[in-house]
């Protein structure tokens, strides 16, 4: 299985876990993001995710490289879904395996923080009564203060 993927297919967190696991794995941390039924007081009907796919794939690969530099013992996989997602469906799935739990948690957390900072994917929220494009971070992979912030959050 490919460690990074941007796809309209349903995500399979269990497959990511299998992909990162080795006989030396003592800990696997995973994260999935799901479409919730409410956002900022609005009843969410569904989301549509749009991606600049080739750059999104490269940004995910970059995140894996950054994580490998910092936590060489951790094996990481990150998949992001695009297209229309219903409430309860998985938009992003991350798995991180390592011999000990600190690195697995840190790499997993770092990955989702960086996804939100630098991966060119956008969320279009359709709620009861309207729709809105969600806009988060100005993407800049070279912004060291953003990267430091992700690292700080990841390293408890």
């Amino acid at each position: 299985m490919i460690a990074t993927r941007v796809t309209t297919d349903r995500l399979d967190p269990a497959a990511l876990v299998q992909a990162v696991e080795t006989p030396g794995s003592g800990a696997i941390a995973t994260f999935v993001g799901l479409v919730r039924d409410h956002n900022q007081g609005r009843r969410v009907l569904h989301l549509v995710y749009e991606a600049y796919e080739p750059l999104a794939e490269r940004a995910l690969t970059r995140i894996l490289d950054e994580a490998r530099d910092r936590w060489p013992t951790a094996v990481l996989a990150v998949h992001h879904r695009t297209g229309k997602l219903e409430v309860g469906q998985v938009s992003v799935a991350i798995a991180a395996a390592s011999p000990h739990r600190s690195e697995a948690f840190a790499a997993c957390r770092y990955a989702i923080e960086r996804v939100k900072q630098i991966v060119p994917i956008w969320k279009h929220e359709y709620f009861e009564g309207g729709d809105v494009w969600i806009e988060g971070a100005t993407a800049d992979p070279d912004d060291t203060s953003a990267r430091d912030s992700a690292m700080r959050i990841a390293c408890a």
Partner: protein, 81 residues
């Protein structure tokens, strides 16, 4: 020279197209492509301070020089996850 302009999310909707072909002078930087586009579609101007750009699907700067047939993308603040 011709370049392809790619637009995403709300920028795409404001312009009404995800892909455009535009002429710019040889040696132009990304900022020139943007400025031309913002003159054509003033509604996108507020994104000047918050968007990112890419050339040929690699992050770039507004000062990056573009070449013939390059794909220049303008990206609103991202919201994946």
């Amino acid at each position: 020279m011709r370049v392809t302009v790619r637009l995403f999310a709300r920028l795409r909707e404001l312009v009404g197209a995800g892909e455009l072909s535009r002429n710019v002078a040889a040696g132009a930087v990304v900022a020139v492509v943007w400025d031309d586009l913002a003159r054509e579609y003033p509604a996108i101007s507020p994104y000047a301070g918050s968007m990112s750009c890419a050339v040929n699907a690699e992050y770039a700067r507004m000062t990056t020089v573009v070449d013939e047939d390059d794909e220049v993308a303008f990206l609103p603040p991202v919201s994946g996850g």
